[in-house]
């Protein structure tokens, strides 16, 4: 199955500016698999989104389609778009 991952500018350091990734995942893949696919292409990026306890970092949201993902086990559908949104706030 194919999914698209869209990344914020905050992660340009890892991707060289590539903000839309097309991934081919095994049927039945979940969000965790998509992030593993991103990590394989851009090492170090996953740890910017998910901490060492496996939790999505504070103030980062991951959308699957138009809904906020509830966890990394969330299944993905063929053609799904995953969007990582990183808040930067304050002065």
């Amino acid at each position: 199955m194919r999914v698209t991952v869209r990344l914020p500018t905050h992660l340009d350091l890892y991707t060289g500016g590539e903000r839309t990734l097309s991934l081919t995942l095994a049927p039945g893949a979940c969000l965790r698999d998509a992030l593993a696919g991103v990590e394989a292409r851009h090492p170090g990026l996953r740890f910017r989104i998910v901490d060492e306890q496996g939790a999505i970092r504070r103030h980062i949201k991951i959308f699957v389609g138009n809904a906020v993902a509830t966890g990394l086990a969330q299944p993905l559908a063929e053609g799904e778009t995953v969007m990582v949104v990183a808040a930067l706030s304050g002065g």
Binding site: H10, L11, P43, G44, F47, R48, I49, D51, E52, Q53, G54, A55, R57, R58, H59, I60, A86, A87, L88
Partner: protein
Amino acid sequence: MAETVLLVGTRKGFWLLRSADRQRWRLEGPQFLGHVIYHVVLDPRDRRSLLLATSTGHLGPSVFRSQDLGGHWEEAATPPAFRREEGGRSVGHVFWLTPGHASEPAVWYAGSSPQGLFRSEDGGANWAPVAGFNDHPSRRDWCGGDQDGTPDGAKLHSILVDPRDPRHLYLSMSGGGSFESHDAGADWRPINRGVRADFFPDPYPEFGQDPHCVRLHPARPERLFQQNHCGLFRRDADGGDWQDIAPPAEADGTRLDIGFGLALHPRDPDTLWTFPMDATDVWPRVSPGGRARVLRSRDAGASWTTLGNGLPQTQAWLTVKRQALCADAETPAGVYFGTTSGEVWASADEGDSWTCIARHLPEIYAVEAAHPA
């Protein structure tokens, strides 16, 4: 005279100040613009490797390495992170970096917020938690809860390696106190006898104090100096008690013994500098009375001199954080501090006179002096 380089970490990036004569300085940067840079340290063992502790907004912490003074950077393949466990902690930011013992040229230590200790054995490429501290049965008692930390998170800092013994380590925590290990970090014990914690019912507890910066001089490694939330202290012997070395309050009652940083002389173990800040009522943490002054002792804290020549003496409300006061290795020693208002001040005569060598930078978190190879 070797080139002197100041490694300036700020809340918005990393800058270098470079000088061949310590009179004319060239500002280079920014690098990592927009990233929070907590500490940048040149490896004194090869005088070439640079380690930089950063985090970016909410993207979490990391460590970067450079072999060419920041021309190229490589991120740690395994940044400092706690062991994965149910309900486990995650590193908010890497706050402090310390090179290992001279006999262990690839070893580095890192301190984090929340308080954790990490070690790399490959020059900072891969980091592992030091289980002897992070999983110590007393760690929760020592570290306290979230409310015991500084406003932006409790810090583990002032990681010191005894030059006589690579297995003898110290660390300090805001809050929590100072601790030492004689077995390379496998076990730890508090070393706070004589250090005041006047915010507690028992002002001299076994642990729980708030050391801001602890330094060890390689020429006299059995001695420690401490700038604490509650004053200035010195410990002269292994296993000994701390002595209060605060200067007397000034005639108008102004205390000069409160601050964050503490810098030692490159050769003389009796000379040190601090940057006094206002600790009245709600702890404003700015130069007392709006007069920027540095404090120097030539006799290990028995007596102190206030130094203000060249520093602004009216309406100067400077804050200097704990990694932002340092000395270089030249003769006479240069002394430097960076302010949260983005200025770097330098003295090429051991603090007798001062010049502002950079301004308009973002909030400065760290200034380290180095002499690259």
